[in-house]
């Protein structure tokens, strides 16, 4: 049986004032997959998601959710989706139980059913201890979980998650990932936006990268990463004078052109495979080039971006430039937290 895509969008456009926040985006999300929309702040991720979720009118283009046109049947679409926003969309003054009860009632559950659904969801999300506490007293992670629970009351077949882990600590983030995987195991389709390459990598079956309201790439996370190499080798030379010799070694060993930073005496090169780093180092030793430090890291969102768009992540002055933060071993996380700091 041929299934319709969970989401099919063609040429979506949203203009705010003069600026085209979303500029002709096509999306195809298959049923049962986790689809990631990856991009920096201000790329148009949230706007795209809001248009698909009937929260913003579509200026131009067309979108269907399970074959139902979003503009023509917003009320039907709302019954097929659950939306978890970037900022917890639950009521601060109500308790967890009251929130879920209210959303259940608003979606046509009888009072008793709304109560039992609230209880079941709180248990499922490990929030039963906090059932009668006001959301104002909740931690960020608890809020997000409650928010997600609130999106699942009527078991919608498609869930939109807008930056589900932005601002969460690593442990809570891992829990959230497990929860999201659980949703898909239950037969949901998930469309999520994220600024983190590692999140897309961990969760998504397919990813599209957007920048300035346009789609710049689409594929599996592996496809994306292969465009920048599995990992990056960075070598800090003892003396800048050796740079030409070092570059020559890299070309010979890897048949790749390194990126040089002459003033810092540094060179970066994409590795097809992390093991090849050793070959380069041996080559440098043989050529008599001294090294101050070496690192091999996974590509960051910045690097993916640079490779795809030819420009850096718009950094809002956050200092995520390629040359500044390379000594950090946990590359992706570092870029993530720097982006976050810029929020």
């Amino acid at each position: 049986m041929g299934a319709v895509p969970a989401v099919q969008a063609r040429g979506l456009v949203k203009t705010f004032r003069e600026q085209r926040a979303v500029d002709g985006i096509d999306l195809d999300v298959r049923q049962g997959e986790i689809f990631g929309v990856l991009g920096p702040n201000g790329a148009g991720k949230t706007t795209t998601l809001k248009m698909l979720a009937t929260l913003l009118p579509i200026d131009s283009g067309q979108a269907e959710i399970f074959g139902v046109d979003v503009a023509a049947h917003p009320n039907r679409v709302r019954q097929l989706i659950g939306v978890t926003g970037q900022y917890a969309s639950v009521d601060e003054d109500l308790t967890a139980t009251e929130n879920l009860w209210l959303f259940g009632r608003l979606q046509g559950l009888r009072a008793a059913d709304a109560r039992s659904t609230a209880r079941r969801l709180l248990e499922q999300f490990g929030l039963q201890e906090a059932a009668d506490r006001r959301i104002a007293e909740f931690s960020g992670g608890m809020r997000r979980r409650l928010d997600l629970a609130a999106s699942l009351i009527t078991r919608p077949p498609l869930i939109f998650l807008d930056e589900p882990t932005t601002g969460l600590d690593p442990r809570t983030r891992g829990q959230m990932w497990d929860t999201i995987r659980g949703l898909v195991a239950d037969g949901c389709t998930v469309l999520l936006t994220t600024q983190y390459l590692d999140e897309a990598d961990q969760l998504a079956d397919r990813v599209c990268v957007i920048d300035h309201g346009r789609k710049v790439a689409e594929g599996t996370p592996d496809d994306l990463k292969s465009q920048v190499g599995e990992s990056t080798l960075q070598v800090q030379l003892e003396s800048g004078a050796d740079q030409a010799a070092a570059a020559e070694v890299v070309r010979r060993v890897l048949a790749e052109e390194p990126v040089l930073t002459p003033e810092a005496g540094r060179l970066n090169v994409a590795l097809p495979d992390a093991d090849r780093a050793a070959d380069v180092l041996l080559g440098l030793r043989a050529a008599g080039v001294s090294i101050r430090s070496v690192s091999v890291a996974r590509p960051t969102l910045d690097e993916v971006f640079l490779a795809l768009t030819g420009h850096d992540v718009p950094a809002d002055g956050s200092g995520t430039g390629r040359t500044d933060d390379i000594d950090d071993a946990d590359h992706a996380d570092h870029a993530g937290s720097a982006l976050e700091a810029a929020r």
Partner: protein
């Protein structure tokens, strides 16, 4: 994490049942729809019967019915009442204004306008009631604006719910405010020596009329709440409307003491109708044509501003 896994398994069973039902519903319908080729089964995931367009239509309703709208309005009213109970400071204006203004106006203007406080009270109290319910309207608009800026409104907007319920719900809850404001003013009046000639039925009628009018006019402020940029600007705009409306009326002074042009304005001012109607009810126990004018004005305000508010709520955000 183990609870999550267990619950997930339960949910998976349920989801499978749901999917089976969906498939049954659409067995007769067409099933082949063009689109992206179906994904290959993803490793480690239970195969789920995909949803097609027919099934998607079958499991959803095109519009929100009237019955649902009522249920949703009351659910939203329940929410507003919970919030009121948890933020009792919201009642300060409703509670303090009648007490403060009644006493102040009675002692400051009583002698000048009516000779003494006692003879001013029958003129003043219905005026203060009108002023208080109108000020309460302003709170309705301000709070709606504040509320709409919160994340939870994103969820309301993403739910398949009536677009009037998020506006009408708080309005229903606000009836508590209007009743509190009107009753407190009459109590304060009684305390100062006001003895309404209309007795309990007259005063009760006056309270009901004032509450209805306040509630009706609040729709105009709800509309302002949906179009203004911030709660502060709602307050600013509302003040500019409310002050002239209450003071350029017969609420605090007999209208015949005013210059001719102003007297004409006070005659058409809806606040004057409310004040005259409630004076007749509370002081004399008589139902006059003013009651009809007041009701008519109230209904007209609802008829104009309810659709405007819903349209603006739908459009903006």
């Amino acid at each position: 994490m183990s609870t999550t896994t267990d619950a997930a398994t339960d949910a998976a069973t349920d989801a499978a049942t749901d999917a089976a039902t969906d498939a049954a519903t659409t067995a007769a319908g067409t099933s082949s729809v063009t689109g992206v080729p179906a994904a290959a089964p993803l490793a480690g995931r239970s195969p789920v019967r995909p949803l097609d367009t027919e099934a998607a239509f079958a499991r959803t309703k095109g519009r929100v019915g009237a019955g649902d709208t009522v249920v949703q309005t009351f659910a939203m009213a329940w929410r507003a009442l919970k919030k009121m109970r948890r933020n009792p400071e919201q009642f300060f204006d409703v509670a303090l204004q009648p007490l403060l203004f009644t006493a102040m106006f009675a002692y400051v203007f009583g002698g000048a306008i009516s000779g003494d406080v006692d003879s001013y009270l029958p003129l003043l109290i219905p005026g203060i009631v009108a002023q208080t319910v109108l000020t309460t309207c302003m709170a309705t608009g301000t709070q709606l604006r504040e509320d709409m800026d919160k994340g939870v409104f994103d969820r309301f907007r993403s739910l398949p719910m009536s677009r009037v319920a998020p506006l009408a719900g708080p309005m229903v809850a606000d009836l508590v405010r209007y009743v509190t404001a009107a009753v407190l003013t009459y109590l304060m009046g009684l305390l100062l020596g006001y003895r309404p000639g209309g007795g309990v039925p007259g005063v009760a009628g006056a309270v009901v009329l004032a509450v209805f009018t306040g509630w009706a006019i609040a729709w105009a402020f709800t509309w302002i709440g949906t179009i203004a940029r911030s709660a502060r600007s709602v307050q600013g705009i509302s003040m500019m409307i409310l002050f002239p409306l209450t003071f350029l009326s017969n609420a605090f002074v007999p209208a015949d003491t005013l210059p001719g042009w102003l007297e004409t304005f006070t005659k058409v001012n809806p606040v004057s109708h409310l004040v005259s109607a409630t004076r007749d009810l509370a002081n004399n126990g008589t139902v006059t044509a003013q009651v009809a004018w007041t009701l008519l004005t109230g209904l007209a305000v609802i008829a104009i501003f309810l659709p405007l508010s819903v349209a603006s709520y739908r459009r903006n955000l």
